[in-house]
């Protein structure tokens, strides 16, 4: 018996941003298997990078992702700086760390909002997005921009933290810590949230490791792995923080990992501000990079991000390889759907915080009905909310 294939995507199936297609094979309401298809957004960035100088590539890499650009530029800059044997000033490393954690907070807040929207919990969506503005204001104060901050240089950072910006940041962090405490309470106690997330989209620790999952997706399956702790960079070696894990292996745990990570990020930033070293924020670096190769890893908001740079002695890289965390989490995602209801699809997809550069239509295939049909993500979301309302 062949099962009914249901295509989901290529427009973003969860966060309404980017394109991936999922074909779901269903037996009535149950998902039997799923096949993902990327390729709707392949922009050829690695190819482009080979035709640009190391300095130009910083701005290209900034644009790999709209909301985790800091993770990509730190990663790229570190690889090039390793090849150049440049010692980046401590103050710059601390500013990079602060910006990376602000980015994690805004990313997790954005994610919390869209995940709430997928549950039909619009109030939570509106509140979290309102409070996300607190972070975006801080980011703008420091960098002049809300997204794609362009704060990193090869050899340091572009802008310093002024005493006023630090003062404002501390005020904002106090506010955020308070709000995050409230949202964590909501996520751990609210019936709507628990009904839609507990035991939904299970990923066993064994599967998570075998399928090479990364980031909050991995940590929500109880595996304590975080690049900031395991392979520390920037100022993380000197920064005390806890790697958050939960054992639930479901969407609820992925939610709680992120809530707690926001609090950890706030602690990291406060610690960095308290111990911020003085001195320069950048050093000059040459245009040409000596031949060699370097690998750099960064814990992006969605997990391990890896850049590999091969230099041939010229001003352009011979190869820049980028592996963003979503590609690593796509395979684990596919196992999470098995035996779940069609109504759980939006939240399971949202659970990994996908950033495909994102799927709207979904194909569903049911063998018993020999039927094939498509839904937009909005149709599926509404149907899911209705389906759960009756239960």
């Amino acid at each position: 018996m062949a099962f009914t294939p249901i295509p989901v995507g290529p427009q973003h199936p969860a966060l309404d941003l980017e394109s991936v297609n999922f074909t779901f094979h269903v037996d009535g309401e149950k998902v039997v298997a799923v096949r993902p298809r990327l390729g709707y957004m392949h922009r050829g960035i690695e190819k482009l990078a080979e035709g640009r100088t190391y300095h130009q590539n910083l701005y290209l890499v900034e644009r790999v992702c709209g909301i985790c650009s800091q993770a990509h530029t730190i990663c790229y800059a570190q690889a090039v700086e390793e090849l150049l044997e440049v010692e980046v000033p401590d103050r710059a490393l601390y500013i990079r760390t602060i910006m990376a954690e602000l980015e994690r907070i805004q990313n997790h807040y954005l994610w919390l909002g869209v995940t709430a929207h997928q549950m039909g919990f619009e109030t939570l969506f509106m509140y979290t997005w309102r409070d996300r503005e607190i972070v975006l204001k801080m980011v703008e104060e420091v960098t002049g921009k809300r997204v794609n901050y362009d704060i990193n240089y090869l050899g340091g950072v572009r802008r310093d933290l002024t005493p006023e910006a630090i003062h404002e940041m501390r005020k904002g962090l106090d506010q955020l810590a308070e709000r995050t405490k409230y949202y964590t309470r909501v996520c751990k106690n609210e019936r709507t949230v628990l009904k839609r997330t507990v035991d939904v989209g299970r990923l066993s620790p064994k599967d998570a490791e075998a399928l090479c999952a990364v980031g909050p997706t991995l940590r929500a399956s109880g595996v304590k792995r975080d690049i900031r702790a395991d392979d520390p960079y920037a100022a993380y070696e000197e920064t005390p923080f806890t790697v958050i894990t939960y054992e639930g292996c479901d969407v609820a745990s992925r939610l709680w990992v992120r809530c707690d990570e926001i609090q950890e990020s706030i602690r990291i930033i406060r610690h960095a501000l308290d111990t911020l070293p003085g001195g320069e924020i950048s050093v000059r670096v040459p245009r040409a990079v000596p031949a060699g190769e370097a690998i750099s890893r960064v814990e992006a908001p969605r997990g391990e991000n890896l850049h590999y740079v091969r230099a041939d002695g010229s001003e352009n890289p011979a190869r820049l390889k980028i592996r963003a965390p979503t590609l690593a989490n796509l395979l684990p995602l596919c196992t999470m759907f098995v035996d779940m209801n069609i109504a759980d699809i939006p939240l399971i997809i949202a659970g990994i915080d996908p950033c495909i550069a994102c799927a709207e239509r979904m194909t569903f295939i049911d063998p018993r009905k020999t039927a094939q049909w498509s839904w937009s993500s909005e149709e599926l979301r509404r149907r899911s909310v209705q389906w759960y309302r009756k239960r």
């Binding site: 990327l38 390729g39 050829g44 075998a210 090479c212 690998i295 890893r297 590609l327």
Partner: protein, 153 residues
């Protein structure tokens, strides 16, 4: 043996053609295609290198280098094998590390390297109607040539 030294041992050192310890956390190992899979199997089963961070392809002229980035704690162990452009095939490691599935497909799309044993090498990042002779990250396909070929001029 500390975690950073987890790669050391006969299973790897006796088969490697070159080992470069770039830093405590970054090690590069050159391997012949025939030995490569046995080394991966040894690392996975004996030394706990279960995380394949990604697979990188690089066009180095007549050959394509394929680099497997295995991670273990702070260490990134990069295993490098070179295959000829004429017959770029390698054994797939998905039976050892299922998480490498998409990385192999990506290298297959962009460089035309076939991974024997990977059950599905259909396009992952390229469109369905992409011409099969264009491997976009190979040197002989600069962006303007790809553009001309796709435009049919």
């Amino acid at each position: 043996m500390t975690a950073d030294e987890a790669w050391r041992g006969a299973g790897l050192e006796e088969r490697a053609t070159a080992i470069k310890v770039q830093s405590r956390r970054r090690v590069f190992v050159d391997l012949a295609p025939v030995d490569f899979k046995a080394v991966v199997a040894w690392l996975v089963t004996e030394r706990g290198f279960t995380h394949v961070a990604t697979v990188t392809g690089i066009d180095v002229g007549s050959e394509i280098e394929v680099i497997y980035h295995l991670a273990h704690g702070a260490l990134v162990l990069s295993l490098r094998v070179a295959v000829s452009k004429e017959e770029p095939t390698l054994p797939s490691i998905v039976d050892l590390v299922p998480g490498a599935t998409f990385y192999e497909r990506e290298v297959h799309d962009l460089f035309g390297v076939a991974f024997e044993g990977n059950p599905d090498l259909s396009p992952l990042v390229l469109p369905d109607d992409w011409p099969s002779e264009i491997h976009p990250l190979r040197r002989e396909w600069p962006a303007d040539r790809i553009h001309r070929r796709l435009e049919g001029t």
